[in-house]
Symmetry: C3
Subunit: 205 residues, 3 copies
Amino acid sequence: MTATARPPATARSLGTAATAATIAALGFAVGLAGDACHVASGTTQYEWDGVPTIWRSAIWFPLMLTSAIVLAAWLAHRLDLPTTRVRTRADVVAGAAAVLALYALTAALRGEPTTVSVTLTAALAVLIWQWWDPGPGALIVGLGAAVAGPLVEIGVVAAGAASYADDSDGLAGVAPWLPCLYFAAGAVASGLWRAVSEPPASRGR
Amino acid sequence: MTATARPPATARSLGTAATAATIAALGFAVGLAGDACHVASGTTQYEWDGVPTIWRSAIWFPLMLTSAIVLAAWLAHRLDLPTTRVRTRADVVAGAAAVLALYALTAALRGEPTTVSVTLTAALAVLIWQWWDPGPGALIVGLGAAVAGPLVEIGVVAAGAASYADDSDGLAGVAPWLPCLYFAAGAVASGLWRAVSEPPASRGR
Amino acid sequence: MTATARPPATARSLGTAATAATIAALGFAVGLAGDACHVASGTTQYEWDGVPTIWRSAIWFPLMLTSAIVLAAWLAHRLDLPTTRVRTRADVVAGAAAVLALYALTAALRGEPTTVSVTLTAALAVLIWQWWDPGPGALIVGLGAAVAGPLVEIGVVAAGAASYADDSDGLAGVAPWLPCLYFAAGAVASGLWRAVSEPPASRGR
């Protein structure tokens, strides 16, 4: 490569809009598939008629999750939270797959005692955080998500828009393992903006 | 080490026959244990009497899986498919364990809604691919396996040699998550030939 | 850093007592949460009345596990067993989370056929070993734990202090997957002493 050579198209940085759109597409796909699992297992149920649905979700829910994940990724980037492990575009698929696997697992755990489902979900969420970026930045975003996400869902349930099954509503109407799932999603969301926007070349090596 | 020193026995390359035999032994062990899980959970059932069985399998099934895994590993090697992450002998046990864990998990997921079992199996299969070798070579072998494997099993079911349980036969007689399981096995099979045949020393460092 | 600069407090080595205490605290937490899962799922049951309990455990059980994990970690260190992958303080949380996840999973697998639960637990235990430290040192400690742990629990059951459920007592009164769980815990225990006692700086780069 000569000094004047331009990097190949795939090695260019993405702008703000393209980065946000990519993260939104990813978040929408994971949220849609994960929520379909919760509806299929009967863990959650939508209560309002006449709302457009997509797959098994009322349209507003995956949109809400998508907004949250884009916001979390953008905030972590803007606040310049420290990263311990730099993630690149090549890692984004694995990060999304890990969160989706945990999401689907919580559906499969329906009917398990709360102690079992919370301990297993929590241990796996910690493992996802430690694997994705075992530092304080991801921890902070994860903890923020673990508080904010369930609070919003508690509001959704209180408003009567959706409900958790009788055996899965022990945390003020939402599932007791819900903070663990949001923690994992938040931990992966941190570092996602940079991973998506920067070219793989900046990974070094 | 002097220029004339020979590498220790463990650091030698394996020939074609020894490599194929090693992969076959590994594939046979994983196939046998995984299939035993499916029979134990009632996910699958053998329909022909008088066929010799080994553990819980009709002898032809683990042999078929073994041939497929050796063929996939050899083809990926001969076609010189690109690898993103070079795997060595030291990694082979982990690769086999990951595929076997997913195999056994599909047995444990019997009775789950299709949405849940397919989403969870798919997410974990993508994770295995991304971990083992997150590149296009492993993707191609995985996708090939995800098409060919279930097609062969659909033929086996149509021939009446085996059957899937009523709650697990939604994909033309086989389980809807079956392509995901074959995808993970195929992804790991790619790169297996080189990992087994080359001495660990070629790993560098 | 000048030649006379002292390392920051977090970069100091821990002494024997502090290392043992840290490992004990970790082992106690994992043992307590894991055992709570087994009691919650009905996998195990305590039979003696009048023994102080903590969470869902009779006090002596997590203490026994704690002693075992400290002893295993110390022995592996004193015997200077070879390590393939050097683990540091930063890895300890992930190691504990992995063992706890497997512990909780065995509770969730209650009711599964023995073939399924043992195959899945064994494959994941091998994966944990291969990830934590894929060498002979961790293998030896894991195998030692896989023999000693279940033997002690068989003694506990024979003494009438605790029992496994009727569908989970196929190994002389204890669960058939119990050696796999102890294997994973033992594999992680190896290398734990050094990981906890040495400053992260010694990890190099």
